[in-house]
């Protein structure tokens, strides 16, 4: 078979090919697993396909890449002697194609040696037959655990020492091939052309493309990251359009198709036996680079590579690894070995440490991604690698030997070819972004198979499509959201500007997310006289959102309220995916949902609870539908995810949990019949209770809160009726007219009356009726909340949103099927009825949007957080920590007051306020103060730590309340802004104070209150005050008073010993004691005292909550994608190989 001059073109190419094809078909006819479609490799290509896929033959002459050529164009071609080595290992499925392709070569190798590494399948037989028909010149059999390098060495040994080898005119080459790599016909010719063209190149690699999907680029040169992972620099499933052609110098080329000069091979001692399977090529090329040799890629040479071992399509036996069935682990061992062996001296321990950290991080990440086996592999690979000290020593000596060769270059020069730092992180981020954006990178529907090789348009289809941006703007969903956004911006034009959103149910958000978070975590709230109430759970997700928005709590509120319309439109549009087929029906449904009266009412009323719930409800509904097994089988992961979502929504509007629980019962009795499914339903309903601990326990104690939402404010419409709820109107400002809901109600009934396809409408009606029932209950209910003096009527906003959403789904299904149903029917009553209903349905969103554009009116406004003059706020931050009393006039001559312990009221204050009964004494004092009775109210209020009284809406002249307060002894008017009046209490007022016993009242003299302020430890005004000081000597019978509501978690020590504080008794008062303050008696001598609050019990609860959250979140996390074989297809039958995970960061490993 050895020929002196290889023929450039076969004499009778077609005839020869036909003959070869027949032979191969004969060989493969009796193969068991011969399902690999090799015809693509065997049959001659025609027309453009040939030009595009095998450009070598035509393009070789045009090759003029300045980076590649040595500017030696005039040099005559040299004479080459190429020994092709095909290493086979259980490769009967691919070997016939590989051999056939090899035989098709326009420049046949001078000698083809096949090495069988103890294959157990029909490979030996195949090889024998191939040798017989002349496809192979020699077959060498070696042991099964022989590595790739050793196998090549064994093959090359058979041809060394021949007379031809000694010919100095001949350049000897070894061409390494795998049993699953099929070179294109012109591959070798192109490689040798490069060898002549680029005379300094001693190692030349081919462009590797896919086996099944032949246009997919697999590799065009390769390098490694600092973690040892292979980096190809290619996108996943990147199509070869010549975009990477011309890449010249690389760190390494794959061993599949590697053409290496024999002398270089011998000089470097071939592949490292310590790397029997993976990274051997990288190590070899790295050493060659160190020794001063050049490694290039000839992009005109194409080799199709299956990467069978990498994708687990055959076990790895080379080097007798511990886990032959886990190529990922072997790959990782090799990677670590490679990096360590190329790190000498002090660099060694450093690299090892870095790899240790990297392995740990990846193992943890894999654990979180619920891939424990892979996490174990990751960690085990590191241990395996570290244990192999002998191998490392040998490898390092090889590296050192290469670096010691005369032409050697500095190591730093070679390292410039390593992948840039951050490549991997970027890759991971991009992959994550793809996942988040919903671009399914492995979407089988968009396989490269779709663009067939015979259809040139297919390859360039992407180029001809409009830009991504333009495409995005043409999508109805994007258009919908943008339109809603624009209209919302117009409608909310009065709500932008300086300041923060406030009004209605909304108390302004604090400055930062951390303030919000702190109010969630703290056990004692500086609201009113102090409150031990459990903070509502919604503070946690809202703080999370605020943290995402660069830590701005007010931005989170702005987003939730002002962005509600487009967000609700977006979520409902996405959630209807798959349910409604007509995209414009989906658009209608989303627009209608996003403009429900509950939406506009929530914005106008500043109800963030309803707003968040409305935004999340579509996803929650979709998740619930999946949970009961519609569409795809239910799973525990789904249950955990639904529970998480339900917990978030229920934290804002607990009534949703009630609706969900009721629906779970209905589902458990009807749709879900199996035990596991019912258990999942139970878990979904109960997990939120655990997730929202300890707040959920408060709901058990105070069930009234189940009906309310953040802000605890009832409807602004006092005359709300159940039929309002039926017509989707929750009441209050911002609600649309009732008649807009009528069309929806009628249309939603239609699909129930049609034959077929009634499942979705029936489910929607079930959900809707349950929500309607709860909404009606809310509309007729008056609940008593401990923190507020009067009963509150709940606002049925969320209930109407669920009810409206259900009607929308039912109507959308009706609309969706309308064209189909009318298509075949003759004209009758149906068509006009359908038209009427369509018009009615269109009216709802159009009317609502029209009203939205006119402007959102309501209590929601933009204003300042400051309700007190600056000097009052500053004084409240001093160590005295005095309080302020803010008065306002309510309806019916009532006086409303807000006792401020911190200068600025903030979101959640009303939800954490203590029971109104605690401040009964203060309430009585305030009314007496306002009446101007002139008794001891001022002094009593001073004892409660109140120093300022503020009336926000003081009238200019003749205000009886102002006159009353002006005339009150002990109240001193101080300056204030326009429209407000501020009084200072003259008696000593401080959060902690020592009060002497009242003096004996002499006839005609005024009893004097003598008090002295005790400084608190300076701290944030929202943290519970603490005292650590020494009280100076005074009179007998004095008391130390702390104006904080009494609670067992306050710890007092006097003179080093713990004492229990008591509430003072109220003389003749209705409550016998005043629980809003606490006191202990003091002796007359100087005495050290400490007061502090122990909030550790809440911390314990929060840790427990965190643990439950972590557990549920882990359960709910999507599993790691297991299939990552770019070159697979649906038809390939691979029963012997469990699919293995190879993350995108690991690249495709050549094997």
């Amino acid at each position: 078979m050895v020929t002196d001059v290889p023929p450039a073109v076969p004499e009778d190419p077609l005839g020869r090919l036909r003959r070869l094809g027949d032979e191969v078909r004969e060989i493969t006819a009796d193969l068991p697993g011969g399902s690999d479609d090799v015809t693509g490799l065997l049959e001659p290509r025609t027309g453009a396909a040939v030009a595009a896929t095998d450009p070598g033959a035509d393009v070789i002459e045009d090759e003029d890449d300045a980076g590649l050529t040595d500017d030696l164009d005039e040099l005559p071609p040299r004479r080459h002697r190429v020994t092709a080595v095909v290493v086979a290992h259980d490769g009967a499925r691919w070997l016939p194609a590989a051999l056939t392709a090899l035989a098709r070569s326009t420049r046949r190798p001078d000698r083809v040696v096949a090495v069988d590494t103890g294959s157990l399948d029909t490979t030996p037989d195949l090889l024998v037959r191939a040798e017989r028909v002349g496809l192979v010149d020699r077959v060498v059999t070696v042991a099964r655990d022989t590595g790739f390098g050793a196998a090549v060495a064994a093959a090359l040994a058979t041809s060394s020492g021949t007379a031809v080898d000694a010919d100095p005119e001949l350049v000897g080459w070894a061409w390494l091939l795998h049993d699953d790599s099929a070179p294109a016909a012109t591959a070798l010719e192109a490689l040798l052309h490069h060898a002549d063209h680029v005379r300094t190149a001693e190692i030349i690699g081919a462009k590797l493309r896919g086996w099944r999907n032949q246009d997919v680029l697999v590799e065009i040169g390769v390098t490694v990251a600092r973690s040892g992972n292979r980096v190809t620099g290619l996108e996943r499933r990147e199509l070869d359009q010549g975009q990477h052609d011309g890449v010249g110098d690389v760190l390494s080329v794959s061993s599949a198709g590697m053409l290496v000069r024999r002398d270089v091979w011998d000089e470097l001692g071939g592949f490292d036996p310590s790397l029997p399977m993976f990274r051997d090529d990288v190590d070899f090329c790295w050493r060659a680079r160190s020794a001063g040799h050049r490694v290039v890629v000839a992009s005109t040479a194409v080799v199709h590579h299956r990467e069978a071992a990498t994708h687990g399509r055959r076990p790895v036996d080379a080097g007798s690894p511990r886990h032959p069935d886990r190529p990922a682990r072997i790959d990782r061992v090799s990677a670590i070995h490679l990096m360590r062996s190329h790190a000498s001296g002090l660099r060694g321990p450093y690299v090892t440490f870095r790899l240790l950290i990297g392995s740990l991080v990846r193992a943890v990440g894999l654990l979180v991604a619920k891939a424990p086996q892979q996490a174990r592999d990751e960690w085990g690979a590191f241990l395996d690698s570290v244990r192999d000290r002998t191998g490392l020593r040998v490898s390092r000596s090889r590296v050192a030997a290469a670096a010691a060769l005369p032409e050697a270059v500095p190591e730093s020069d070679v390292r410039t070819l390593l992948a840039p730092r951050g490549t991997q992180a970027r890759h991971v981020l991009e992959t994550f972004a793809d996942l988040v954006a919903g671009r399914d990178v492995s979407d089988p529907s968009r396989s490269v198979l779709d663009s067939t090789s015979d259809d040139p348009d297919g390859w360039y289809a992407d180029d001809r499509r409009p830009s991504r941006l333009r495409r995005a703007f043409r999508r109805p969903g994007v258009l919908l959201v943008l339109t809603l956004l624009l209209l919302a911006l117009v409608g909310e034009r009065g709500l932008f500007g300086d300041g923060v959103l406030l009004g209605g149910a909304l108390i302004p958000a604090p400055e930062g997310a951390s303030d919000l978070w702190a109010s969630y975590t703290t056990a004692w709230h500086e609201v009113g006289p102090g409150s031990p109430a459990d903070a509502p759970a919604w503070l946690a997700p809202l703080s999370g959102l605020a943290f995402l928005l660069r830590g701005s709590a007010s931005s989170a509120v702005d987003l939730v309220l002002l962005g509600l319309v487009p967000i609700a439109g977006l979520t409902s549009y996405l959630a209807l995916r798959g349910l409604v087929s007509h995209v414009w029906v989906r658009v209608w449904a989303a627009a209608t949902y996003a403009t429900l009266p509950a939406v506009t009412g929530a914005i106008s009323g500043g109800r963030i609870g309803t707003a968040v719930s409305i935004a999340l409800l579509p996803w929650l509904a979709r998740s619930c539908v999946r949970l009961v097994g519609v569409g795809r089988p239910s799973s525990w992961r789904r249950a955990a995810g639904t529970a998480l979502l339900l917990a978030v929504v229920a934290s804002f509007t607990p009534v949703v949990w009630l609706v969900a629980a009721a629906l779970a019962v209905v589902a458990g009795l009807t749709v879900v019949r199996d035990l596991a499914g019912r258990l999942r339903l139970l878990a979904t309903v109960l997990l939120p209770v655990a997730l929202l601990v300890p707040w959920s326990l408060r709901l058990f104690r105070e069930p009234a809160l189940l009906w309310l939402e953040p802000g605890l404010v009832g409807p602004t419409d006092r005359h709300l009726q159940p039929y309002d709820v039926l017509l989707l109107r929750p009441g209050g400002v911002g609600s649309t007219p009732l008649w807009l809901g009528v069309g929806l109600l009628v249309a939603a009934l239609v699909p129930l009356g049609l034959r077929g396809g009634r499942r979705v409408p029936v489910v929607a009606w079930c959900v809707g009726l349950v929500a309607l029932a709860f909404g009606v209950v809310q509309s007729v209910l008056h609940v008593q909340v401990a923190a507020l003096p009067d009963p509150v009527s709940p606002w049925p906003g969320v209930a109407t949103a669920v009810w409206g959403g259900a009607l929308i789904v039912a109507s959308a299904v009706a609309l969706d099927g309308l064209p189909g149903r009318l298509a075949g029917a003759s004209f009758g009553w149906r068509q006009p009825a359908a038209a009427a209903i369509t018009v009615l349905l269109l009216l709802a969103p159009i009317g609502a949007l029209g009203m939205l554009v006119l402007g959102v009116d309501g209590p929601l406004a933009r204003g300042s957080r400051d309700v007190l003059p600056a000097y009052v706020g500053a004084e409240m931050r001093t160590t005295d920590r005095p309080r302020s009393l803010v008065l306002s006039r309510g309806a019916d001559d009532r006086l409303i007051y807000d006792l401020l312990s911190a200068p600025q009221p903030q979101l959640g204050d009303v939800d954490v306020a203590g029971p109104a009964s605690t401040s009964a004494v203060i309430t009585s004092l305030v009314s007496r103060l306002a009446a101007g009775l002139g008794a001891d109210e001022v002094e009593a209020l001073a004892t409660h730590g109140i120093r300022y009284v503020v009336l926000g809406d003081a009238r200019a002249a003749g205000d009886p309340l102002v006159e009353s307060l002006d005339s009150q002894p002990g109240l001193r008017r101080v300056s204030a802004r326009d429209g407000a009046a501020v009084w200072q209490l003259v008696p000593t007022s401080s959060r902690a104070q020592v009060i002497d016993p009242p003096e004996a009242v002499a006839a005609g003299t005024v009893a004097m209150r003598v008090a002295r302020a005790v400084p608190t430890v300076p701290d944030d005004p929202r943290t519970p005050p603490s005292v650590a000081t020494t009280v100076a000597a005074g009179v007998d019978g004095r008391t130390l008073v702390l104006s904080e509501a009494i609670d067992s978690r306050w710890t007092w020590t006097v003179d080093g010993s713990a004492v229990t504080s008591t509430s003072p008794t109220v003389a003749g008062g209705d409550p016998a004691t005043d629980p809003s303050i606490q006191q202990v008696g003091l002796v007359s001598s100087s005495v050290p005292v400490t007061i502090s609050f122990d909030g550790s019990s809440r911390s314990t609860w929060l840790w427990a909550q965190g643990a439950v959250l972590l557990l549920v979140a882990l359960l709910a996390l999507p599993s790691r994608r297991v299939e990552d074989d770019d070159d697979s297809d649906a038809f390939e039958d691979a029963p012997d190989a469990a699919d293995v995970a190879v993350g995108p960061d690991q690249g495709g490993t050549s094997a």
């Binding site: 406030l502 108390i507 302004p508 009113g528 009726q721 159940p722 039929y723 129930l752 009356g753 009634r758 009606w765 079930c766 009726l769 309607l772 009606v776 007729v780 008056h782 923190a787 003096p789 009067d790 009963p791 009527s793 209590p859 204003g863 309700v867 007190l868 803010v886 306002s888 019916d892 009532r894 006086l895 409303i896 007051y897 807000d898 006792l899 401020l900 009221p905 009303v910 309430t923 009314s927 306002a930 009446a931 101007g932 009775l933 002139g934 200019a956 002249a957 003749g958 002006d966 005339s967 002894p969 001193r972 008017r973 101080v974 003259v986 006839a1003 005609g1004 003299t1005 005024v1006 004097m1008």
Partner: protein
């Protein structure tokens, strides 16, 4: 969502029936309507809350009396008393020097109802007096201040009730021309300093008076500010007293002389701008009567009605008075006044403050003057203390809109019950003047004016002394006592400070 079929044979049959489209629609519609219908029957109003204000007796009353000026010719007297009204039983009332509350004071004590106490300042001015009552005494407590000079350039008589400290009030009248001394007497009865701005207005509008800005009154102090040092040359003035910090008791003292010839003395009571101002006590006969009006906030148009004994009279040519914002406008009422005492009602399109300055003395009589300002509505008993024989005490009661009945009672210490009582019916739009038959010599009797029924009434009084060289008069409003107050229902609403 299932509704029970009236006669289901089997569950399967029921389910089969449910699958029929018409039945499904019916079931859905019926369920929907049933839910709403049941809800509709359960609609209840929000439970009513008891939020009617309670009426409670006040626990204490504090009145400040700044008029303690005295010279060799000038005598000031402060009188306080507790009337023996229903419900006034226990408590303590004092009249004490204004000193810091911690310092010792020498209070005059009233320990039982019906008593009066008085402090007289001769030769030398004294500290301001603080009249205070606690317990049920607060309901029957009144205090008055009288200043009198029988001879010399200061000859004249002035009277004013002690008043509650305020943060914002007006003095209308007085002037700063040569020979005229108008002073603003300020008292801070608090334990901390007060800061007061005196904003002066004249016939041409606000007067730049920097000396009146930021006047500091230390704790428990009295201060006398001469108006001519702030804004000289004003024929007629109005002063807006407004505090920046604290509150003050305010009275004006107006004296006029021509060289050594006295022209009279008066005390200016504080008044508050309103769209309806009633001055019930314009005496008759008088030599001149001049009304001063100011509309502080904006241009106003005021209409005047004289409330005479015979009914309302609109003075010719004075039906409409145009009041440019911030200008003191004077109206000569002399031609309109008849020979009986009358009241004056001013209704305006914007709040106005007003006072009438009357002058007496013709021929050989020495001249005398006094001022009557807008009076608060008498909606509770008004108490005047310190009546004595030798001085004529007249009570003027005006009912500007509708007929009203008031009861007048005279109490003399040492006797039980009222020694004189009279019910007076005042026709709508009229004023009634009653002379109180005082018989006691000491300044210790007091009269109580109680509105009994009918429309709103306003009360004032006139004190006149027949001097050797002509009568001396003093005009004063009668303030209602604050016996009770309405205690509003207070509710704690966390976060309400935001709205």
């Amino acid at each position: 969502m299932t509704t029970p079929d009236p006669a289901p044979t089997t569950v399967a049959g029921l389910l089969r029936a449910l699958r029929r489209p018409a039945v499904t629609v019916a079931v859905a519609a019926v369920s929907m309507l049933a839910v709403v219908g049941v809800g509709q029957t359960r609609v209840t109003a929000v439970p009513p809350v008891d939020d009617a204000p309670r009426v409670e007796p006040v626990a204490s009353t504090t009145l400040v009396c700044p008029v303690t000026t005295a010279t060799s010719a000038l005598i000031s007297t402060v009188i306080a008393g507790v009337a023996e009204l229903d419900g006034v039983s226990t408590g303590v009332a004092t009249l004490a020097d204004l000193t810091t509350r911690t310092a010792a004071s020498d209070p005059l004590l009233i320990s039982k109802p019906g008593q009066t106490v008085a402090r007289v300042f001769r030769e030398k001015s004294g500290p301001a007096q603080l009249a205070r009552a606690t317990g049920s005494f607060a309901a029957g407590f009144g205090a008055d201040q009288v200043i009198r000079s029988g001879v010399g350039a200061t000859r004249g008589l002035g009277a004013a009730p002690c008043s509650r400290p305020v943060t914002d009030t007006w003095l209308v009248g007085g002037g700063t021309t040569v020979g005229r001394l108008t002073q603003v007497l300020l008292v801070n009865d608090d334990d901390s300093p007060a800061q007061v701005d005196l904003l002066v207005y004249g016939p041409k509008g606000p007067v730049d008076a920097p000396g009146g800005a930021g006047i500091v009154l230390p704790a428990s102090s009295r201060r006398q500010v001469r108006l001519d040092t702030l804004a000289p040359g004003l024929a007629v003035a109005a002063v807006h007293v407004v505090t920046r910090n604290g509150r003050v008791g305010v009275t004006g003292l107006d004296q006029q002389s021509n060289g050594l010839i006295p022209l009279g003395m008066s005390l200016l009571p504080p008044t508050t701008p309103s769209t309806t101002v009633v001055i019930p006590n314009i005496p008759a006969p008088v030599r001149t009567a001049r009304l001063s009006l100011i509309s502080p906030d904006g241009d106003a148009s005021a209409s005047l009605t004289l409330l005479t004994g015979d009914g309302p009279i609109v003075p010719s040519g004075l039906a409409q008075v145009v009041l440019p914002a911030g200008r003191v406008v004077t109206v000569d009422l002399t031609p309109a006044l008849v020979h009986s005492a009358s009241g004056l009602r001013i209704t305006s399109t914007a709040p106005v403050a007003g006072a009438v300055e009357v002058r007496t003395g013709d021929g050989t009589d020495l001249k005398e003057m006094d001022s009557a300002a807008g009076t608060p509505l008498l909606n509770a008993p008004g108490i005047v203390a310190g009546l004595r024989r030798g001085i004529t005490h007249r009570i003027d009661v005006a009912a500007p809109t509708a007929q009203a009945v008031v009861r007048m009672e005279l109490y003399v210490p040492g006797t039980t019950g009222a020694v004189w009582a009279q019910s007076v019916t005042v026709p709508g739009g009229a004023t009634r003047r009653i002379v109180v038959p005082v018989t006691t010599l000491a300044a210790s009797s007091f009269v109580v004016v109680t509105p009994v029924s009918g429309g709103p009434v306003y009360a004032g009084r006139e004190v006149s002394e027949a001097g050797a060289r002509g009568p001396m008069i003093a005009l004063a409003p009668i303030y209602p006592t604050r016996a009770t107050t309405s205690v509003p229902v207070a509710v704690s609403v966390p976060g309400s400070s935001v709205r």
